[in-house]
Symmetry: C2
Subunit: 360 residues, 2 copies
């Protein structure tokens, strides 16, 4: 007579080891299958009597099923992969927050992979996450290294892109209505009396949101604006180090403006700060000497200079909706790729109020 099963109470301290379905089965004097049925089909097939016994045992042992084992068996893991180009980017974090919330509510957990702005690692990220059987992806990345993502999609894992489109990738896409948001900011500048406009951006490259914003700027200058008022528009793209270039761009804009007022639209929060710094270097006053509207609302916008006007993105919602799209797909929704655009909101403050600042 050989000992076939070493009871878990001997294998390891019972108080410490997580109870398994076998433990519950033993305690309730039923088979593992029955416990599993109780868990997954609840009251479909079970005698009240037995169900009660199982329920008790589960409570007793504080049992909860192992998602790992479930994942292995079912091929589904209740895990969602989130790949971010840069966690330090406040926009990404806000999206992350929204997404995380929606996932939690739907019983999913988030596995995070931060690229740290190294877009070459995108495939690595997706492969690592795929290995862990994540059921789908939320991607806020450049989409340069798009192979793995396309693979994932082909393997039937739904993908949602946030803010940045991937070239030729068929997937749900959730983003700010960049064109509308840019118009919002520019209309406001024009109404506030600024006539010589400058769009300042980080290098556009192939980053879709930057492209869209720049294109919207040009469109506004070329069409809408020319009908109503005399308007000039230029753009400047520069990296963090190009202070000189930015200063020059601002100076020549002001020269072009002559007696008119120059106004700047920044393409994101980082650029906004750069412009604020440049304006300080030049000794100009925000609002009075130069108008400024920034992208992305931040906690500090109200306190810089006379307060910064901004175009606020519904970041939380972007994240929530992205997660929502994904979860719908996971529940079986079959639909051609959707494109969802959310509107920006203009927050006006002193930096775009020429008159208030001139008199005040």
């Amino acid at each position: 007579m050989s000992i076939k099963k070493i009871p878990p109470s001997i294998r390891t301290n019972p108080a410490l080891a997580r109870a398994t379905i076998a433990d519950v089965a033993r305690a309730a004097n039923v088979s593992k299958a029955t416990v599993s049925r109780f868990l997954n089909h609840r009251d479909q097939l079970l005698t009240k009597e037995i169900a009660a016994r199982v329920e008790l045992a589960i409570a007793d042992l504080a049992y909860s099923p192992s998602p790992m084992a479930q994942a292995l068996k079912r091929g589904r893991s209740k895990l969602i992969g989130l790949v971010v180009a840069d966690v330090t980017n406040p926009f990404s974090v806000a999206v992350l927050r929204g997404a995380e919330k929606a996932c939690q509510e739907a019983g999913y957990l988030l596995m995070l992979f931060n690229l740290g702005n190294d877009s070459r690692r995108e495939s690595e990220a997706i492969e690592a996450l795929t290995a862990y059987q994540v059921e789908g992806f939320i991607l806020n990345t450049l989409g340069r290294d798009t192979k793995a993502a396309a693979d994932a999609a082909r393997h039937g894992k739904p993908v949602v892109l946030v803010d940045r489109r991937h070239q030729g990738m068929q997937a749900d896409f959730v983003s700010l209505d960049n064109a509308g948001a840019v118009r919002l900011g520019l209309c406001h500048l024009v109404e506030a009396g600024y006539r010589e406009l400058l769009f300042v951006s980080e290098p556009v490259r192939d980053i879709s949101s930057r492209e869209e914003r720049k294109a919207a700027f040009h469109a506004f200058i070329n069409t809408v604006a020319q009908d109503t008022v005399e308007l000039q528009g230029h753009t400047f793209e520069g990296t963090e180090n190009d202070e000189q270039g930015l200063d020059d761009a601002l100076r020549s804009m002001r020269e072009r403006a002559g007696s008119g007022l120059p106004g700047v639209l920044a393409s994101n929060a980082v650029v906004t700060l750069r412009i604020v710094a440049a304006v300080a270097r030049l000794g100009w006053r925000l609002g009075a000497d130069i108008g400024l509207v920034g992208f992305d609302e931040t906690e500090w916008a109200p306190y810089v200079g006379p307060g910064l006007s901004t175009i606020a993105q519904p970041t939380d919602e972007l994240g929530r909706i992205a997660a929502g799209c994904l979860i719908e797909r996971l529940r079986g929704l079959e639909l051609p790729p959707r494109q969802i655009y959310l509107s920006g909101r203009l927050v006006t403050r002193g930096s775009s109020l020429a008159i208030a600042n001139q008199t005040g």
Copy 2:
């Protein structure tokens, strides 16, 4: 004769399905065990001949082992759980970033759970993460709902606390040297000529870092300072809504100061902004009318008013070291709980330069 095994090539499209160890074994004409050995013990036991065959098959099929299955078998998952009180807090994000980096380098992936400032969900978070077999925890939480964390620790899962200590919890702890940092800021204010000091904090409650900062403020006022210069110190704790209270506290501080100079130390970035707003409401000039040193260096600090002096925390390093501690434990390091303190760095700007601002 029954068909025992349906080959994977029929079960599902082979191009799409991930290869398993069995596929590799078949392709290399060896047993699964051999493949497993190749993976885990590399060249310990294998014929060159066979090793080469296995290697080839692995490359051919683009095989990589399923961490889920490994986790199930080994009980180890190469997963680390990170629980954050609030992802929108820039400090948390910075820590997250550092931790994520270190984890990636060591081959771990991060599972993130955000409490969204609802500290009651701490146990829920830890349980969810435990279910996924995370091997250890990095916690940046209040530690109010400490049961689950203690459980985890008892179950042999190492825990590292960042920034916030948990009552009675024996675990590695990584944090700013709050006392030293506070001294740094206060010494600077005193040297810059400020004599009537105020410490402004969010409600301290039981949050260890806040307690420590407040205590350090009092200690500084009571001992170090009295010997050298006449000094007064008060503290104010208020929530976001208590603008009135903050204004009053600042006003009475300035009254107490008389002809001397009042200086404020903010306990974190949020409070710093609140003070900036209050100073604007009161119509005072930062630096000249009131000195300000804030906690936490931010991207916007240089651009608010005359520039904000801050005490910068080595956030990235805190995260990296926290993750490092955890990984050491996972590798088997046995040691009593460590407490690791990193120094803050003072960044001086206009907000604490009374003279420069008065003349300028």
